[in-house]
């Protein structure tokens, strides 16, 4: 898909320089030194030869075609250089030069012009303001990075060129194998979505790793990532998660950071494994690139010391994996190969004097156990430990049928073992806790792969009715939809709503109450009042015509006095709701990822305990259930302390109906049903109050 970028036959460096401290020299040198076998064409009007290659004043003068153009000229010359490349038939461009969107409005204008030109000519553009890219399989180093990594199957993309340098420097020391690495720069044209799709199709890549500060198109990201993640794991480290982070981001590459919760929901939905730190990003990449996925979450630990075994067991339990009991057969076979004092339980303690053979036997036995899905091997360098021999034996024992992750703890003495592990494809971590966390990332991805197919239910609804209500509100410029119209919308989507009538006069109110049957609730109707109860606009349990009359008059009088500007449009008279568990169902539209459904238990659970979950719409029944289950207060719905279980299905179905509603109507910017009253199983659940916020256009 991005062949011209990753596998060009010829590369032009426009802005190639003779001066060794110039970026334009570095890139040319990198192309030559890293062994690119295609044609390399330096372009510079003031030189006839650079680094032994004939140099041309322009590609027009060069006369033949090039596949990839790397542009490093000063900003004012960029447009001409790009035109020159396109004229020479370039299918892809990398603009290294900075000074575009990241510097302000003028740079942004220039960038837009640049992108427009490329798109008009169907040329893909990486950058501007980037470090370039590299592809080890083609010996293509079209970047000014100082380091050329070993070949491997991890492909990285990074929105920070500096971080790309740090990763390459890390790779150089730790012999991390890399397939492709792309500096995203300002993402003028090629962005994370293009690269995820391309790398998913790339046979040399087995794990896609990204550092991102923003995402360009959230909808597309979810679709692209979901498709790609079905083929190979995607690990993303997204920074700018807190307010302080966001402030720093907005002063950085000029991109707007979306809300962290939305990113979390989008990643969860699309199977992207989220790294929370720089170290996790590399830790996870290593595990995914080197080891098969676990089929389950039962872990065995092999160790030559009790302490690290305890650490691993702690970490396994805390992160939610299982320390698997070993099968009787495994324990028998371990007893046959281990000394008497060793532990054949899990952790399998091979003792401080364990040699390579004893370690290998234990790892073998653990892998062979049908009750074990993954093995973590720990080693401390003790007096008689022969570290490299042991590492080799463990690497032999790890046969690729189940994931094996190592933590050889220490420094000087374990260094040769870690080197051997890197060569043999066995990931090693400096501490048991990090090995466990990496394994957990594998389990999380494997769980996502095993998920049931996503089937979004479509309920029969009265869509036309909602269209009319929304059109009317928008015509009246009433973007806040009050209770009366909100409940009409909900009724049209088959929500259970208490019977109620809009009454403009006292007598209409009495008539409505009599039609509904006492007792009733009465609520003020006004386009100017959102929080009705705060100003005395809600009265409950009115049990007689007199009470209705008195309340009507008092409400009009007092609210009229308190808010003389508010347009009062009568009252809403409604049947009293039964008591029940109150929950909040809602939706807010994230600027990146679109409609995010929310669920939480009512009142303090949302406001004080912040015990809510979000999920990106459209949502399946399975996902709706997961939303409920992922709140801490879920136990209250299931029934605790002798309270009855409430109708959980009613909540799940309502979330799905909201999902359908907000997917059908992009005009709905925000909404909530608060409270939604959940009855007992088989009983009545209903939307007791609701409000919507509309926007004029999508």
């Amino acid at each position: 898909m991005l062949d011209a970028l990753f596998s060009p036959g010829s590369v032009a460096v426009v802005g190639a320089s003779r001066s060794p401290d110039k970026v334009g020299n570095r890139i040319l040198a990198n192309l030559i030194e890293c062994g690119f076998t295609g044609q390399i064409v330096p372009v510079n009007p003031t030189a006839s030869e650079i680094l032994g290659l004939r140099c041309y004043p322009s590609l027009r003068e060069y006369g033949r075609s090039v596949d990839l153009g790397v542009v490093v000229v000063p900003r004012p010359a960029v447009m001409a250089a790009v035109e020159d490349c396109i004229g020479a038939g370039a299918k892809a461009l990398i603009v290294i030069t900075a000074g575009f969107k990241e510097t302000g409005p003028e740079g942004a204008d220039l960038e837009r012009e640049l992108v427009r030109l490329c798109r008009a000519r169907q040329v893909r553009l990486v950058g501007p303001n980037c470090l370039g890219l590299l592809n080890t399989e083609r010996n293509l180093n079209a970047s000014f990075a100082k380091v050329w990594p070993a070949r491997g199957h991890i492909s990285f993309m990074s929105q920070s060129g500096a971080l790309m340098s740090a990763i390459l420097d890390h790779a150089a020391l730790h012999r991390l194998g890399i397939s492709k690495m792309i500096s995203l720069g300002n993402k003028g044209d090629v962005d994370e979505n293009d690269l995820i799709a391309a790398l998913a199709a790339d046979p040399d890549t087995n794990v896609i790793v990204g550092y991102l500060e923003s995402i360009m198109d959230g909808d597309k990201f979810i679709r692209t990532a979901e498709n790609a993640a079905a083929r190979k794991p995607i690990v993303i480290f997204k920074s700018g998660v807190t307010q302080a982070g966001v402030r720093a981001a907005s002063s950085h590459t000029g991109s707007l950071a979306g809300a962290d919760i939305a990113y979390g929901a989008a990643f969860r939905r699309s199977g992207v494994i989220r790294a929370e730190t720089f170290e996790q990003m590399i830790d996870y990449a290593l595990a995914f690139t080197m080891q098969p996925l676990p089929k389950g979450e039962r872990v065995a630990v092999v160790t030559n010391a009790g302490g690290p075994g305890i650490m691993a067991a702690d970490a396994i339990e805390q992160i939610g994996l299982t320390m698997s009991p070993l099968s009787e057969a495994t324990r028998d076979s371990l007893r046959g190969v281990l000394p008497e004092a060793a532990s054949s339980a899990n952790p399998i303690d091979v003792l401080g004097d364990a040699d390579a053979g004893r370690y290998a036997a234990a790892v073998h036995a653990a892998i062979a156990d049908p009750q074990v899905d993954a093995v973590i091997v720990l080693l401390t360098p003790q007096a008689v430990t022969r570290v490299p021999q042991t590492a080799a034996a463990i690497a032999d024992a790890a046969d690729g049928s189940k994931p094996v992750l190592a933590s050889f703890m220490g420094g000087r003495d374990v260094a040769p073992a870690i080197k051997l592990f890197m060569e043999r494809g066995l990931p090693n971590y400096p501490s048991p806790e990090r090995a466990v966390r990496a394994l957990n990332a594998m389990c999380e991805y494997a769980r996502w792969l095993r998920r049931p197919p996503r089937i979004v239910a479509r309920f029969p609804v009265n869509r036309r009715r909602v269209e009319r209500i929304i059109a009317r509100q928008l015509r009246l410029q009433q973007h806040q939809v009050g209770e009366v119209a909100a409940k009409d919308i909900l009724r049209a989507y088959d929500f259970n709503v208490p019977p109620g009538f809009h009454a403009l006069t006292r007598e209409e109110a009495v008539e409505a109450a009599e039609r509904i049957g006492f007792p009733v609730a009465m609520k003020i109707v006004s386009p100017d009042i959102i929080h009705k109860s705060d100003i005395g606009g809600v009265r409950l349990n009115l049990d007689s015509p007199e009470a209705v009359r008195d309340t009507f008059d008092l409400m009009m009088l007092r609210i009229g006095q308190r808010l003389p500007e508010a347009r009062l449009e009568g009252v809403y008279v409604e049947k009293m709701c039964p008591r029940g568990r109150e929950v909040i169902l809602g939706m807010t539209r994230d600027p990146q990822f679109g409609p995010m459904l929310m669920f939480g238990l009512g009142g303090i659970f949302v406001e004080v305990m912040k015990d809510v979950t979000f999920h990106i719409a459209p949502i399946t029944q399975e996902e709706a259930r997961q939303m409920l289950e992922s709140t801490r207060s879920y136990a209250l719905l299931r029934g605790v302390r002798g309270q009855a279980r409430v109708d959980i299905d009613a909540i799940a179905v309502s979330l799905q109906r909201i999902s359908q509603l907000v997917t059908d109507f992009p005009h709905i910017l925000e909404m909530d049903i608060n409270p939604f009253i959940v009855g007992p199983v088989g009983g009545v659940s209903l939307a007791a109050d609701a409000r919507f916020t509309l926007r004029s256009a999508r």
Copy 2:
């Protein structure tokens, strides 16, 4: 205090061996090779010379005295070897030999005998079943570890010999400076408390670091650690925190792991900084040993790349520290030294082409800013970055007035800088997140040092009365104290308890109700019934003599039918409690650390949300307030959503009274007041129900 261990004039190795693969050879070789300048005496009846030293069949034959004996003979010969050492005047012993408590009852017996012998002769014993110890200042390597570390000011103690090996191996690679390192082994005599006290007094140690799987004496630990932490930081990594961990521990050194929450409370109380992982333990040790403590929590970040700056800002905010705005003066001075495109806000972005001078100027300016308490310096190795020069300039700029922590990210190119930092006393971390976490540990310790003096209030109470109640319960073998007696105890400690009377007959119940005034509550009294409401033993709002009579008879009838074995001792008639916010106050006695006070909001907050805090008694007013504030639901007490603030002081005082009660009476094993009803400020708060569990002897 443990001079003979750390600074002996002479050392005997009893069990010295000629065979290079024997531990008894390794220890002797370590003593010689590491340059111990005192007398070294090998003891072995079958050799006349080992490693060039004259060897004696016994210390009796040697004839002179030794200060420290290192015993490595086989287990059956240990007692005789120890006696030989003591006979030669040894003041301290290290028993390397294994096969004691960790192997079962027989080994435990032998260990007890060994310890008895040493204590009778006032000889301190390290081990048995340990790796030995080392002290770099004295060139004393009385261990069989393979690595001799550089001198430094970190002192380690480890309950796992293997982990000691791993730390030493890590130290060898990363040039970590160490003062003393002790393998605790079975802790037969010398334990963590002895070592914390000794290392606190040791002028060569500036941070005490421990890996522990258990603590021998919780009370003493708190006292010892609190005193030591007032002098220098203590970092402890305690493993065995989860159920899986605990199972692994019990099969390890035979020590029982206490409850994790109790360890957390004990560490918090005594100022111990808890490391959650092996890496954190070393990360924190590095920060504490190298940098001064921060005076506050406002952090400035200096970086040559936006991405890592965002990561640091994210981590700072997430962990609860503050990204400090810089003062105008600092921003002015930064504008003077940085290029125009650089950011003089926080993070201070010195740009990708920053040289050493620009970095130094930025670090200088950040340190000089009165609004900054600590500085984190990030670097990615970019095209023109001169890494070692930059590191040297930063090390010069870090003048020791405020903590400076670095994260030079990468591998190969940053390695020389990290080496330089280690030499110059500037801690470097592989990622910004780890630097931030280490800084946070420093802030946590500095906060503990700044805490107000602990003044435990003593309330005037009727202690005699409680003594009589408890004595009576114990005489009757009633370890479960029911509501009637429980409330008598609370009244004696001046808790507000609703008026109530124990009534044995129907007419006594009516009389009691009339004395109290209607409405009343009625509760069954029986030593055999703990959960009264579960069997219909609680009725509320009885508003007339008839209601009291009927309820009495029905309760006796129905409970008698349901629990024919239960002894029914009438009812407790009590004034109805006012409504109010319900909280739970309680105490459970941890086997290690003694009475742990608990606080939580009632009902679901405790049972579903697990939103509770613990603190070790006795407690100060400050600590009681902190307990309340550290629950998520605290906002409900302060008043949210228009609800009134409740009487928080009433809760804090009640916790202090419970603290006094359970400190006064070790017989109280557990208790709770559930619910404690908190009224509005200035109103009535009271203990609505309570129960105690007693134990016969302390």
